[in-house]
């Protein structure tokens, strides 16, 4: 029983991370129809930048600078590499984000090396105790942040003008352009929002396990999370992230760590076969 609880907790933590990465991927996909394989790499850069900058400029200064730097990187990526590919076949954008990922990974390895970089302590160290069970405060915070983020994004997409414009862009680029929406701005804004999400995830990652250039692998695990939930659904990204995180944690704990590494992809294959558009994705009926 105690172990079950422990595995559930670490699953929730992993799930929160996956959810935040998946949310970034979904937001970019919704408006630009590009699946951003480099989202995990953005997270990795954010962790490394955040840890380094907060050492130099203090916590607040480091935060501000990291947010600015991550947003700038995302803006540049969108403007310089993905915008020329509009109208190209699918594989071009697919391979582009993967290649960008490698580029970022190589660049980070060049700048930071293979060391582990930690954030300064942001969360109180003493755990919350309920009876005999101790819950780390950070896990609670991660869960709360994801829940709040979910609410904010649902409201944003349904109430705010910008959110509506983004949904319109997702529907049809040409029509929304003729309705006076600057589609290119929407593209840039989506990438910046995704970069912000990567930054938020990086706070948790950096405070608990620390940043390392191989953190980009988290992005790979977020792929099943996105697709299980549905490629264009915010609810799906959150739910999918938690499903994959919990499943991975439980399988790793009870069966074997080897299976835990693969189980997200097995689930992905099954979901793709049975319900290709995911649990919450918009079903576009297309008989082939």
């Amino acid at each position: 029983m105690y172990f079950l609880f422990y595995f559930l907790l670490s699953g929730v933590y992993l799930g929160a991370l996956y959810s935040m990465i998946a949310l970034g991927i979904v937001i970019i996909y919704k408006s630009t129809k590009v699946f951003n394989f480099a989202q995990g790499h953005l997270l990795m850069v954010a962790v490394l930048l955040g840890a380094t900058l907060s050492q130099i400029f203090g916590i607040i200064g480091g935060m501000v600078l990291t947010v600015a730097a991550t947003a700038l990187i995302a803006l540049l990526l969108e403007r310089l590499t993905l915008r020329p590919l509009i109208g190209q076949p699918l594989i071009a954008a697919l391979l582009m984000t993967i290649a960008l990922g490698y580029l970022i990974e190589g660049g980070s390895l060049m700048v930071w090396g293979e060391g582990l970089y930690k954030y300064p302590d942001l969360f109180p160290a003493e755990p919350i105790s309920i009876g005999s069970i101790a819950i780390e405060q950070g896990v609670v915070w991660a869960f709360v942040v994801v829940a709040v983020g979910f609410a904010v994004f649902v409201l944003f997409y349904h109430k705010a003008v910008l959110g509506k414009a983004m949904r319109a862009t997702a529907e049809d680029h040409q029509v929304s352009q003729s309705m006076g929406i600057r589609v290119t701005h929407i593209f840039s804004i989506s990438w910046v929002i995704a970069a912000m999400l990567a930054y938020v995830a990086s706070i948790f990652l950096g405070s608990f396990s620390g940043g390392h250039y191989l953190n980009s692998n988290l992005g790979l695990k977020a792929i099943p999370a996105v697709l299980v939930g549905g490629l264009d659904s915010i609810t799906g990204a959150i739910v999918g992230g938690f499903i994959v995180g919990l499943l991975e944690s439980l399988v790793t704990g009870y069966l074997s760590s080897e299976l835990g590494e693969v189980i997200p992809f097995i689930v992905l294959l099954i979901v793709l076969l049975i319900k290709p558009y995911g649990l919450f994705g918009l079903v576009r009926i297309e008989r082939i």
Binding site: I91, A92, A99, S108, L268, L272
Partner: protein, 355 residues
């Protein structure tokens, strides 16, 4: 394709012929002769090693090119299918005691069948979703070799073989291996080039360009997509078998997602839907790799040690990523297209039309 003035196709056979003119026959003959005497002309082990790897990779890339470039089914798990071929070949030889020459086609078939299995989602999934399914296949297959039955597949340390023999010949030197791999590379390249001009190749292109229209034209999507997967993975299997004959030992981490992406990158750089492009792309990327390897000791002598080791560790990643990014933006049609332009220039010189 442009031809010299005065060459007309009056029969269908002429129209689809691979080699059309007498000079082309001469050039082809000379090229094959060159391939045959290459190790005698350049008896450098280093060079032959590179050429051998290029030839093995070329076979695999042809498979991916048929699957992705011609049939339009994006596969991000091609290295895993190559691994299936390699492991199947090693298992047939170790546990069934078959000779390599029998295991090789069997391994190709095995990889093809596994390819069909993971190609089944292509009946329901298109484009992006299919690419995701093949990524899943990549992870599942490598995890299978890593963890399933370590007494057969050897877990993380993999499988190894003795040098391949044919009669008295032992294929253990780069020179001998060259003569073993080269015929396969030539035959498989011919097979690929021959396939794409056939009914099946044209069906693949039709499916890639518009699957709905293709089906209305009477092409069975079900059959042809699976055939594309089978053929693509068959090539990968043959290539994998040659790979284990060449390396003599294989591990699961030699067939990682990175390698699959590497192959997709080669197809893009060479030019999608061009057999020549597959060859050019492989040569380009392999030479780039070698260049990075050569550059590393040089950097170590110029820069401080800490920085140099970081740069050399990340150099391959950065170089590959940068090349793919630049090709996608500047020349999405790849090296094959550049080659056509170059030929056109040469043909029309000193006039400026035609390019």
């Amino acid at each position: 394709m442009t031809r010299p003035a005065g060459i007309f196709d009056v029969r269908y056979q002429q129209d689809i012929a691979i080699v059309r003119t007498k000079p082309q026959w001469v050039i082809l003959g000379l090229f094959l002769l060159f391939l045959l005497v290459f190790p005698k002309l350049f008896p450098s082990r280093y060079l032959l090693n590179i050429i051998n790897i290029i030839m093995i990779m070329t076979i695999s890339v042809h498979g991916l090119n048929i699957l992705t470039g011609f049939a339009g089914q994006i596969s991000a798990g091609h290295a895993a299918f190559m691994g299936v071929g390699a492991y199947a070949c090693a298992s047939f030889m170790t546990f069934w005691g078959l000779s390599f020459w029998l295991s090789l086609p069997l391994a190709g078939l095995t990889a093809g069948l596994v390819g069909i299995l993971f190609g089944l989602p292509s009946l329901r999934l298109k484009g992006f979703y299919l690419a995701m399914a093949t990524i899943a296949a990549q992870f599942i297959i490598t995890a299978f070799f890593l963890h399933f039955k370590p007494e057969i597949f050897g877990g993380g340390s993999g499988m190894s073989l003795k040098p391949i023999r044919l009669g008295n010949i032992v294929f253990d030197t780069q020179d001998n291996l060259y003569y073993m791999i080269m015929p396969f590379a030539v035959i498989m390249t011919y097979f690929a080039q021959n396939l794409v001009r056939s009914r099946m190749g044209r069906a693949f292109v039709a499916i890639r360009d518009n699957d709905l229209a293709a089906e209305i034209m009477g092409i069975s999507l079900f059959g042809y997509k699976l055939r594309a997967f089978f053929i693509g993975c068959f090539f990968a299997g043959i290539s994998g078998s040659l790979y284990i004959a060449f390396m003599r030992t294989i591990r699961p981490d030699q067939f990682s997602l990175m390698d699959s992406i590497w192959m997709l990158g080669i197809v893009i750089i060479g030019g999608m839907g061009s057999i020549l492009g597959g060859i050019l792309g492989t040569i380009f990327i392999k030479l780039l790799d070698e260049f990075v390897l050569v550059l590393t000791p040089f950097l170590g002598s110029v820069l401080p040690r800490e920085l140099a080791s970081r740069i050399s560790a990340s150099m391959a990643l950065v170089a590959f990523g940068l090349v793919v990014v630049l090709f996608l933006i500047l020349e999405p049609r790849g090296l094959a297209h550049r080659w056509e332009i170059l030929k056109g220039r040469f043909r029309h010189w000193p006039f400026t039309y035609g390019h």
